[in-house]
Amino acid sequence: MTEAARPTTAFIEYKDVTKAFAGKPVLRGMNLAIDRGEVMFIIGTSGVGKSVTIKHLIGLLRIDRGEIWFDGQRVDQLPERALAPLRKRIGMVFQSSTLFDSMTLAENVALPLRKHQRMAWAAALAEAKHRLAQVYMAEHADRYPAELSDGMRKRAAIARTLALDPEVVLFDEPTTGLDPVSARRIDRLIRELAGTLGVTAVVVSHDLPSTFAIADRVAFLYQGVVHLVATPGDLRASPDPIVQQFIGGKSSGPMETPGF
């Protein structure tokens, strides 16, 4: 049931990853392997370490023990400067849209192009407008993030991440705080990225409709380890009482949720 004996040829692999914050363990020897081109959902209760897991991959956080491999390269010990090429290949869409308030949408999208691709300012701006058009935000290119709705900001943030044509996109709760229609549009976008561009998507979520609609596989995180990796169908059919409590949204059951 748990993934113990997978070959080490996975595109992204976490091996025995441990992380504690101020002495409080969050990940306790987590193992996970993600294949190229798949849509992998990481689900679990709040505070279980889902966002922490994906931030480790791109060096935004440092693991305490264990190893993280990406495309045959060990990445958990790279210094900040050596992470730049990695962050070109792996993009991240943050939970809050994290657009920079002092820049227009076009300038926001142009920033990674200028820094990672060394593009000139004018060329980067032109490319940014093209990217914004792809997420139907062309007419808002010269507006500031504060003037826009959450859904629009999220779309612009996705455009910024996709501007570098990443091979992997990490989504941190992409549909949280969005209305159901916008949420399903984001789902469709993630599915299209994987289907047409071959992008590997790692999605942290507790939005179960999204999970069952677009995931290729789902990793269920519980008590600092991957409790189960399965296809959405197998997850639904799993006899595991903890899984059943989570997907059923039951307030009482065998699940231990610290803090609540």
Partner: protein, 280 residues
């Protein structure tokens, strides 16, 4: 055979362990602060050497010069003007009681302003206004993951956020120190004239000022100007959690910045005294 630990011994051990933990944490924080400072200088070098290659944030230094400098002018003028009035009034009052000789008030006040009060009081004011602003802005970017987003965009947060503020603060702390000192001196002169009838030509006497006083003003203003944004930026980058973390960062920036100004004042003044053999 080992004797069981007495309650008092255990208490002492806990205290020593607690103190050790604090020392280690403080040492780590000091090292991190130092790295931010070194990183800022490295960022300035990178900025100068690579400017044409791909540029920094456009117009950011200008924006920061305006935010740190122009917007502090009224604040600095008002505070230092009042302090100049109070100091002169108190000095004249004491002199009137003792000797009644006001001939040295103006020249001694100017010497004090140039070598110490001008830059130090200006920097103390800037440490509150500018330090709080920088820490709150960078801290809220930290807790809303904008710093992480910058790193993902291939930008070093120090280059992008601290370097422009650092450059602007160096320039503006010096400029405002000179302005604040002038206002303080002028306000003192007016107080002396209208409260004690001191002749302005006697008060505004620059003959006691020597090059070493001006050098001291520049050294102090530049040191304070460097310390304030680095400490505030460091506190902002360490903000954790949500709005509470930003509040903590802002408080720490104001306390740390003011404290740094006072300590630097002492160190630089002591060094100047030693270098000049007490003839300051």
């Amino acid at each position: 055979m080992t004797a069981p630990e007495l309650p008092r011994a255990r208490w002492v051990r806990h205290r020593i362990e607690g103190a050790g933990t604090i020392v280690v944490a403080a040492g780590r924080a000091a090292l991190a602060l130092w790295l931010v400072y070194v990183g800022t200088w490295a960022g300035i070098v990178r900025r100068i050497s690579r400017r044409r290659a791909h540029g920094g944030p456009r117009g950011e230094v200008g924006r920061q010069l305006h935010a740190i400098g122009n917007r502090s002018v009224v604040f600095i003028v008002v505070t230092l003007g009042f302090i100049g009035m109070v100091m002169t009034y108190e000095a004249c009052l004491q002199l009137a009681r003792v000797t009644g000789d006001f001939s040295q008030v103006g020249s001694q006040l100017l010497r004090l302003i140039v070598s110490d009060f001008g830059p130090t009081l200006t920097a103390l004011m800037l440490a509150t206004r500018v330090g709080a602003g920088i820490a709150a802005e960078i801290g809220s970017m930290k807790v809303t993951e904008q710093i992480d987003a910058l790193r993902m965009s291939g930008v070093l947060p120090i280059d992008y956020l601290i370097v422009p503020r650092f450059v602007a603060s160096l320039v503006m702390t010096l400029a405002l120190s000179v302005l604040g000192g002038l206002v303080m001196y002028a306000a003192g002169g007016l107080t002396a004239k209208y409260s004690f009838g001191v002749n302005p030509s006697l008060f505004f006497d620059v003959s006691k000022i020597r090059v070493r006083h001006v050098v001291l003003l520049i050294v102090k203003a530049v040191s304070y100007g460097a310390a304030i944004p680095v400490i505030a930026g460091f506190c902002g980058l360490r903000a954790r959690g949500s709005s509470e973390g930003v509040g903590w960062a802002t408080t720490a920036a104001v306390i740390g910045g003011s404290f740094a100004v006072i300590v630097l004042d002492f160190v630089i003044s002591a060094a100047a005294l030693l270098l000049t053999g007490g003839d300051l």
